[in-house]
Symmetry: C2
Subunit: 434 residues, 2 copies
């Protein structure tokens, strides 16, 4: 294999870094103008985009790709309109860059300001949904970031058309179009993951397998979650009807989602009410895998005996493990042992138990009397969602545009040197202004 | 080599994770009590600590360790008192855990709160200065984190005595002393860097070589900076006296520090004033390595011709590279090409030039008319400094206690399921309360 493509990719990634530095340092109004241009592109080039998507669909159908994948792949007037509306909302929304996070008067005539800044260059790796090109691309443009987009092969025609809209919008406003770069091919990803001098954050959107394989093959920080092993705990003091409602919602609303419940923890004193909960789940087609103490309460639901490795598993399907615990502490210990730190919920009418659960569970999202399915950027009111992070640094849980920002410290002085301060010299004021 | 120590280390790291989860979930007042106990320990066990340090000093002197290293290694009454005062300040300071970052009413009876939380378990790797055990250990205790401390071999007796003070303070207040763990030996570090299930952040405090080697050998996030290649740019409109003052301060105040200037960029229109700046630097013993255009202006200062690789080098010594540029843009391009993203400063009386420098330079700290040496947690008024980060995610520039925190999302409901919302159901309010 020739080295040429690698050198070439590094040059192209470097071009994104360069273009972003200019783009990210200009006024928010200018970035808004680019977003308005993008909305215009999506409207004017609608037929071109739909034709490209039709090519992808024809190919995908001829290859017998599964139906859910075909649905994600397909674009239509409705999806394009929704994308355009999203871009227009971002265009009209305030620019986050330059927002003051902290301001301190270190001394008279020496003022320090911490401001929000673009993170730099993002690498987005996503599968079949071409919508992601515009959703993530427009978020990157709003936040002053450069972005390298690597989509799935099955959507290559659609992705190319949409990336072209992003680049054209930049060009129309006089910016270097290399702020956005579209990339194809698996080999390219491998090379890009080595370019930590040009890429600041990788956001993989896809299967847990994809996320894990990326996490273990790059020094660049990765934002995302490999697994969502969420727990719903029915406390001794849980209201039985609420317990059934939340068990059904947490498991059945969208079983393939990362915030769906995978294990139901049941306090021993709640076992008497478990049959009704089991019945409600069975009616929705859920197969229960129950431990020795809960299984007898689930007769007639089709429940089977759980194996040891059923706890801590992400089924992503209508299957739910059930474990009995003797106390709140045991429930929390089970979560810490088997969970992935994504989202856990307790159902209880006991305020103290709820409070202790909120205080002691070490997960990104911790709920009292609400479905695990609420762990989501839109439901949290964050606007567009970049992803959900189970990492602990930088961003945790559902991540909005703030996850695409960093900060810079700006100091304005009048010629002060550090040696001017000290026991024999000037003293710092450190007066907090913001 | 036996596998036993590796299994054992994993168990010990896991014990820190467990102990931290309890410690971090309790009230701030209880963490304050632990810190008061620590201050008491440092006072009561002063003689024991000094005796341990004397053992290290005797050994170090017999091995002819260099004088600066001996100075950093030595503890005395004054250093111990300063440490104790620092701990008392932290004990009296407000607890950051649980602080509300954002609160949103998603719907009536469904309130989301984002609160500050401990990051989890920190691994601190440091060299000769035993003070770091208490400085970092007490910051970890204040912020509810667990901490694994790996110090240098030359300070092993001192470190053991100080780690014992931290653990004893925890025990006295009824906590598991495993919130703090002291570790020795290089092999141990190699193993710990693989334990990403138990350790959340690595903070190496030491040479750039140490930081680089750690960054490239772990999947755990690393907070720190491998290099500080800082630039001071003398603009066309720089005041000559201020230029000389800031050049001397940025280079000479503490040449070994990461925030010392390594390259002086000079606008071609300022060259006429360069001789005075060069003279001031030469008087302080600085050797200038100058490019072709600036060298003739530095006659009599002992300046030599710069080689191409003199730009982008961290000397950590009284050596300063000098490059001539034709414009502000060229200065910024030089910084982006050769800098490490740490700290850059411009000297100028031209407000517009200052503003453009602040907007366009993509470094953690960017200054106008102030010494690069101000890039420091204490000078920034952040209180104790965890380190200076040239990374872009999580924390950038000087990092205070905020760098040791993450957040959790707490949701309190009344039994709501996600499927209750939608076109046919309830609608979200998303009312921002905080």
């Amino acid at each position: 294999m020739s080295q040429q493509p690698i050198v070439d990719l590094a040059r192209r990634a470097q071009a994104v870094r360069r273009a972003q530095r200019t783009y990210g340092s200009y006024d928010g109004a200018q970035r808004s103008a680019v977003l308005w241009r993008l909305a215009q592109q999506l409207e004017e080039r609608k037929n071109e985009i739909l034709a490209a998507n039709a090519q992808d669909m024809t190919l995908a159908e001829s290859q017998d790709l599964p139906l859910p994948l075909l649905r994600r792949l397909q674009l239509d007037d409705g999806k394009l309109l929704a994308l355009r509306r999203g871009v227009e909302q971002l265009a009209a929304s305030p620019d986050p860059i330059g927002e003051v996070m902290r301001r301190t008067e270190l001394d008279e005539g020496l003022v320090l300001t911490q401001v929000k800044s673009p993170l730099g260059v993002l690498l987005i790796i996503f599968e079949s949904r071409p919508d992601a090109v515009i959703q993530i691309g427009s978020l990157a443009l709003r936040s002053g970031n450069g972005v390298i987009l690597k989509g799935g092969r099955e959507a290559s025609h659609s992705n190319r058309a949409l990336v072209s809209c992003l680049r054209q919008a930049l060009s129309y406003e006089g910016y270097d179009k290399n702020v956005v770069l579209g990339i194809e091919g698996r080999q390219a990803v491998k090379t890009l993951l080595e370019l930590d001098q040009f890429i600041d954050l990788v956001i993989p959107r896809g299967s847990g397998e994809l996320v894990r394989s990326i996490q273990s093959s790059t020094r660049i920080p990765v934002l995302g979650h490999a697994e969502g092993v969420c727990h719903l705990y029915l406390d001794a003091a849980a209201d039985p009807a609420m317990a059934a409602h939340l068990a059904v919602d947490s498991k059945c609303d969208y079983p393939a989602a990362c915030n769906a419940a995978e294990t139901l923890l049941v306090h021993v004193d709640f076992l008497a009410h478990l049959p009704a909960v089991g019945q409600a789940l069975a009616e929705r087609g859920v197969t229960l895998r129950a431990d020795a103490r809960s299984l007898p309460r689930l007769e007639g639901t089709g429940a089977v005996a759980a194996a040891a490795d059923d706890f801590g598993r992400e089924y992503g399907d209508l299957i739910l493990a059930v474990a009995t615990v003797d106390s709140l502490e045991e429930a929390i210990a089970h979560i810490h042992r088997h969970g992935s730190g994504h989202t856990e919920a307790i159902v209880t009418a006991d305020q103290l138990a709820g409070q202790r659960f909120l205080q002691q569970v070490d997960s990104a999202s911790v709920f009292v009397n609400a479905s695990t399915r609420f762990a989501d950027g839109f439901r949290y009111g964050l606007g567009a969602e970049v992803g959900i992070s189970t990492g602990r640094i930088h961003a945790r849980g559902p991540v909005g545009v703030d996850g695409l920002l960093t900060s810079r410290w700006l100091l304005r002085g009048e010629g002060q040197g550090a040696a001017d301060y000290g026991p024999q010299g000037r003293r710092f004021l450190h007066r907090q202004l913001v």
